[in-house]
Subunit: 398 residues, 2 copies
Amino acid sequence: MQAAQHRIEDWRTFSADATIAAATLGDAAVEVEWSDARRSPFHFDWLRDNCACAACVHALTREQVFEIADARADLSARVVHVDRDGALHVEWNDGHRSAWSPGWLRTHAYDDVSRAERHAAHGPHVWLGDDAAALGVFAWRDLMDDDGALHAWLGALQRTGLTLVEGVPAERGRVADVARRVGLIRESNFGVLFDVESKPRPDSNAYTSLNLPPHTDLPTRELQPGVQFLHCLANDATGGDSVFIDGFALADALRRERPADFERLVSTPFEFWNKSAHSDYRCSAPVIGLDARGNVSEVRVANFLRGPLDAPADAVAAVYRAYRRFLVLAREPRFRVQRRLRAGDMWAFDNRRVLHARTEFDPATGRRHLQGCYVDRDELLSRWRVLSRTLGAVAAPR
Amino acid sequence: MQAAQHRIEDWRTFSADATIAAATLGDAAVEVEWSDARRSPFHFDWLRDNCACAACVHALTREQVFEIADARADLSARVVHVDRDGALHVEWNDGHRSAWSPGWLRTHAYDDVSRAERHAAHGPHVWLGDDAAALGVFAWRDLMDDDGALHAWLGALQRTGLTLVEGVPAERGRVADVARRVGLIRESNFGVLFDVESKPRPDSNAYTSLNLPPHTDLPTRELQPGVQFLHCLANDATGGDSVFIDGFALADALRRERPADFERLVSTPFEFWNKSAHSDYRCSAPVIGLDARGNVSEVRVANFLRGPLDAPADAVAAVYRAYRRFLVLAREPRFRVQRRLRAGDMWAFDNRRVLHARTEFDPATGRRHLQGCYVDRDELLSRWRVLSRTLGAVAAPR
């Protein structure tokens, strides 16, 4: 019954690998000892805030109605006990009663061991050019028809940031069908879908036949698009090979080999500007972004989309030294996966992690036409979590 | 001629309030002394990186082709001079030549005085409930027909984060017409447009008749929507008043009155979860976000859209203390602007800054129907910059 109560709150089910061996009432928290000897404190406010009873959580929306600010300032548990199903029950000093299943508590425990376990489960698999063989290759038909294949693809995309989908019909608009299997397409000033080809009046270097150095798309936006899809419709010109680089590998190498340069690129906002007659997008952000735990969470690079650096005068020389080294690093063969796209290939990659580049091509020798679109990381992760739920996947959705 | 060269790079024009009095060649930088005695260093790499000649910048895309990593490591200026039009010329030790207009250089100078001047120009106007009279009210017809009015509205929206548009026809879809005057609409799982009304099977507390505490929309996304538009089509029910709070004022008050709590809410990622049968959006981010300079750049609050806090055990009690105080602060009348929407009113507000709330209403007493949509800050700022350019506005676009 308690388990059911928590499914109302979360839509997931929680298996209890461990059971509650003992629950004791401390000064500020309920101390749980698990059957595997792990110990987890659950502070009073935390428990009360996670009460999933019908008075605290709306039955249909499953969103909280209660606010912790409405609990008395000296909130404490008066009685604690574990029932025959293993659920933890608390009666509060204001008379309210709450209960939690052991599986839910174990999944959300925040003792050091539980947190380390939870956070370790989702690290990225960083790769170099030589690891290209290990990158995931998926068949278009499977992804469109089979939720299991879709789930596997999205898992690979999260881990490595780069996957190839083969056999996508080489027709306009097909890339959108694939992207919509993941989630909402993110529109930009270049359209819902964009066509990468040499154009007579280009408004981006991407739409010329020039060499394009390694870059992320739309660094000029606060949130760079999370996933980029690039679908090859034709590639008959001489030149125009595609290059991919794991930006996390670049950042790791810089951190190891040139820690002072890494620090500069983490702490210095660069100016990214994309100006045209009808738009003027600008963003000020570092080349290497860290998450709250200090892990690299994104890179932001497009040499051709920068505005003048706006750093303190006494830092400018050091910032340029660091930026030069990053650019040189990105040219080293050890990081590069180079491929020639064939009509029907579709690359899907984490645009905030994987830099892409292309070599110069000669538009007089044949047609080169890619069609692309963007989907944000939020959409990818939401889809993956829902599939994990419905497929009963073993891995805990993050 | 130099001025024209820089318009190619930027689409803006730069007036030279000050002229270059002297340019001298230092060890690492060209030192410019202006006619008003300000002194600006321009480091060699910075100047070379901003060369706007036809070999360095693509003539049509106006994007850089040159990469600073291709300049020699010991790059330095060999000759410096100021021409009869006041432009700065440099001949480099590799033979390349560059030139910059004085207006462009002055606009992008990074000496301490120039940086402070540039950054001070764009601070927000923070407000309390008593300041409500100073908030901008705009007429729908003007915004739709007149780019000058549109520009003024977008300026006010940037400064105060909250504006009222009156006289929008009370018809479905009209809110989208207004939003598209600003930029691309951002779709979510709730649609391109969303309908806020009491629904029989709600998938959000917003779609009930409940009291909704002060919140930002979609805190469950990495990037919360920047601007929210809420258009009132009908408001005939008893109750259901709207409340707005400047989240920057809340953050300022907390910083002053409870600095330790402010620190907790800046440094602790909270879990924001929006789960349903078909989606599962989650984001881990602090309640108060700072920009690279330590200024408050966003708040992220929706009590009913949180997952279990995942903080170190020894921090949990202090985090809850801080969060309780923030919630209590947000209930204080001094911060609140309360309004009853009339059919035809449309509020536009910075959803990452201004919290909105509504009081409970009785759906049996009449219809209450709002229609809304989102546009990101990137779109607002791009539109405002282009208008600033074309209108020749006095204020320098940021």
